[in-house]
Structures are given as C-alpha cells and as structure tokens.
C-alpha cells in the first residue's frame, strides 16, 4: 500500500523480473514498464497509480454540516494570519525510506527462506573476493552458498566466485558508489536460495557510502587488510560502527609490516564496543576456522530467533 496516501499502489514489495546489469543513472527507470517496483523509484514519475485520478487538496477552511468553519483543516493543519494554508506542508519522512522499505522486504524474504546474509564492506583491495573464494571452498560442503558481487564495472569478481561452483550474480553500479536494497532485491530473484544456506553480498569497495544503505542483511562484516592504516576505524567510523564483525585480512603479511594490531582493535572497539574482531589470512588459512565458527554461531542464533518469533 502506498505509504503516502494509503492508495493501493505497491511500495516496498520485492522487485522481480528486471535486468540487474544496468544500474546507471538515467536507465534505471526502464524497469517500471514491466510493472516492477522500479516504476516507483523512477524519477520520471510513474507511481503505479491504479486508483484513478484523485486530489488531496483541501480548502483553506471547511464548512461542515453544522455550519462551523474550521480553519485547521488545510494542508498545514494550522492557521496563521496572512498566510495561505496551502503553502506549507509537514512531511516528516526519512529520505532513504524507500531503500529501507526494500531492505525490510529483502530481510523478511531471507529470514523466511532460512538464509543468513552477510554484507561484506571494505575499501577496494582489502581482499574480500579472495577471502570469499577461500571461504566458499572450505564451507560449500556444509552450506549451500550464493554470492552477490557489487562493482562499478566488470564481472571479474563474479567469474572468480563462479569458478568455485557457487552461483553468483554481478551487479554493476555504473557510476554508483554503493549497492542499495533495490538492486539486491533484483539479484535475489536470480539466485538459487536454499534454506539453511549462506548469502554473501560483496559490496562496492568503499568505506564511506555503503554505510548509509541497509541491504536487508543479517550482519555487516567490515574487512580491513593489515596493509591499510590501523586508524581506519577512526577515519571511517560510520562503517565500523555498523558492523558486527571486523575481519583483519592478509594477516600472513604481518611480519613484513608495522601494523599495530592492538591500536587497530582498540580504535575499532572505541567506535563500536560490541564489534567482534578476527584476524584471518585467505592465503595461509590462519584464523579462518574462527571465522567459520562465527558464521555457524550466527546461523544458530538466527534459527533460534526465528523459532522464538513463530
């Protein structure tokens, strides 16, 4: 139902049947022609209006059946001498409310399907894809695993994931600097999602923008490679504040670096006292068993929470 006026037009439903590979600005609204949710998003204004023309204008005052004149029924709901009521409208809506509605739909869909979704965020080059490839190889005998890959261009990462045998959908964001929940909803349509499975969403490499967009994941995991500065959690606090797990990657390189592990974990906990921190190396495999135990623990607690909720 439309959250603005209560009409029957759909908002926040899981989108279906639209291409995933063309998210460039200006081409995005094309999905609306297929009756998908993209029509709601398109700036050319195709609110899928099935209820015919209507008019929410109200007069500056009304005369009711009893002869009373009410000056408080205008758009503003107040009367200010000398000012037309039609001029000021209180809205009070979150600007990212549409993304949040898509995220809620994704989350409900994943939860109902019994799938644990992790949103992997980091700066470019932190080793997310290498970590994923290794994780899939080690875990695919225990869990059905699917992957959504986000990059501005190329399908290189999805190709690397598919080489492991796991299904992967590549989302190219064009000039976009982050995945949003709408894109992820489309990608979900194209993935085999098996109950008890894992979904890894590898976000666009960027420690800033993805923090603002909920995708409907169960947990955000931030990957920070030890070749980066240990003060990244303080420089980009929004991302670290939202993550439930920090993975310090490329740990096999530690002997060659001056990376101050204690300082880094201290900074991360200062920004987010609840964050779990694990040190891993996709190359040597060190630390990965602890990461896998963390995943299994989330799967168990997710299942328990689902059992309690029903």
């Amino acid at each position: 139902m439309c959250t603005i006026c209560g009409c029957e037009a759909a908002t926040g439903e899981a989108p279906r049947n639209a291409p995933v590979d063309s998210w460039r600005p200006g081409r995005h609204g094309a999905g609306g022609k297929q009756g998908s949710i993209a029509g709601n998003r398109s700036r050319d204004g195709r609110h899928p209006d099935r209820h015919g023309p209507h008019d929410h204008r109200h007069p500056a005052h009304t005369h009711d059946d009893h002869g009373a004149i009410d000056f408080g029924t205008g758009l503003a709901g107040v009367h200010l001498p000398g000012m037309s009521q039609e001029r000021i409208i209180r809205i009070e809506r979150d600007i990212l409310s549409k993304n949040d509605a898509f995220a809620r739909a994704n989350r409900a869909r994943l939860k109902a399907g019994g799938i644990l979704a992790l949103n992997l965020v980091s700066s470019p080059g932190s080793g997310k894809t290498s970590l994923l490839v290794r994780t899939i190889k080690d875990l695919q005998s225990r869990f059905p695993i699917a992957v959504i890959e986000g990059d501005q261009q190329t399908s290189n990462d999805a190709d690397r994931i598919r080489a492991t045998g796991a299904p992967a959908v590549q989302i190219n964001t064009g000039k976009g600097c982050h995945l949003d929940a709408h894109m992820v909803g489309h990608a979900l349509d194209r993935l085999p999602l098996t109950a008890g499975g894992l979904l890894f969403i590898e976000n666009v490499g960027n420690l800033v923008c993805p923090a603002a967009f909920d995708l409907g994941e169960a947990h955000k995991a931030v990957v920070l490679s030890v070749t980066e500065g240990e003060d990244k959690p303080l420089k980009y606090p929004a991302m670290f504040e939202q993550a439930d797990l920090m993975l310090l990657s490329k740990a096999d390189l530690l002997p060659h670096l001056d990376f101050d592990m204690d300082a880094c974990t201290g900074f991360a906990r200062r920004v987010n006292p609840r964050i779990d921190i694990l040190t891993v190396s996709a190359r040597s495999g060190d630390g990965l068993p602890a990461f896998y135990r963390w995943i299994e623990q989330q799967v168990r607690s997710d299942t328990t929470a689902k059992g309690e909720g029903t």
């Binding site: 439309c2 603005i4 006026c5 009409c7 600005p25 998003r41 700036r43 204004g45 609110h47 209006d49 008019d55 929410h56 204008r57 758009l75 039609e86 001029r87 000021i88 409208i89 209180r90 809205i91 009070e92 809506r93 979150d94 600007i95 990212l96 409310s97 549409k98 993304n99 976009g176 600097c177 982050h178 949003d180 800033v208 923008c209 923090a211 603002a212 967009f213 303080l234 606090p237 929004a238 504040e241 200062r270 920004v271 987010n272 006292p273």
Partner: protein, 113 residues
C-alpha cells in the same frame, strides 16, 4: 558521492507528495540533517540542484536544518551532547554513550504553490 542517491531519493519523495497532494511547484524544501550523519550538506545542495531539474522541485530553495549529536550515557543516566559518533561522555568520560540523535536524514517540510 552517495549524496547524489540521497538527492534523488529526496526528489522522488517530493514528487510522490506532489502527486498525492496535488501541488505543482515547490518553493522551499526543509530537510533535517544529523550533524553526525552520512551526508555532507554542501554536496547535498549541489546534487539537489542537479537532480531536481525538470521536476516540481526545480528551483526550490533547500534549507538544511542541522540536528546536533546527542547520546544517552548509562553512567550519568541522562542525555549528553556529543561531537563525534564514538565520543566519550563529556561529564563522566564513559565510552558507553549510545547515540540518540545526530543521524537524521528527513524531509521535514515543503513550501508549495
């Protein structure tokens, strides 16, 4: 530059409101923006001017009202002002302050014709 996406979402909301409420031109847009949020005010202004072209919001003045950062300190059992997301309590120095305001990103009000 996620401000571009934020500006697009803002214009979409305004157009939704325009269709539902039947206004055809917006003079002023008032947005509440958290001081500790994800959005840079100048970048949002720039992007809003760019993406509102050809919409009911074209030429509208974007008024950004900043909401200061606040958090709940369990030690002091009260709301305190914070200057950063991970700030310590200015009263007792506790690191346990939980942010309660300052992340807002809301379309508050429109002035329309």
């Amino acid at each position: 530059m996620h401000e571009m996406t934020v500006a697009e979402s803002l214009v979409e909301l305004i157009e939704d409101e325009g269709r539902c409420r039947g206004f055809s031109r917006v003079r002023q847009v008032r947005v509440r923006i958290g001081a500790l949020g994800h959005v840079e005010p100048d970048a949002l202004r720039f992007c809003f001017a760019a993406v509102s072209h050809g919409t009911v919001a074209e030429g509208a003045r974007l008024e950004l009202e900043t909401v200061a950062g606040e958090g709940w300190c369990p030690g002091c059992a009260r709301t305190v002002t914070i200057a950063e997301r991970h700030d310590i309590c200015p009263e007792c120095g506790s690191c346990q302050v939980r942010m309660t305001a300052g992340a807002e990103l809301r379309l508050a009000e429109l002035e329309v014709d």
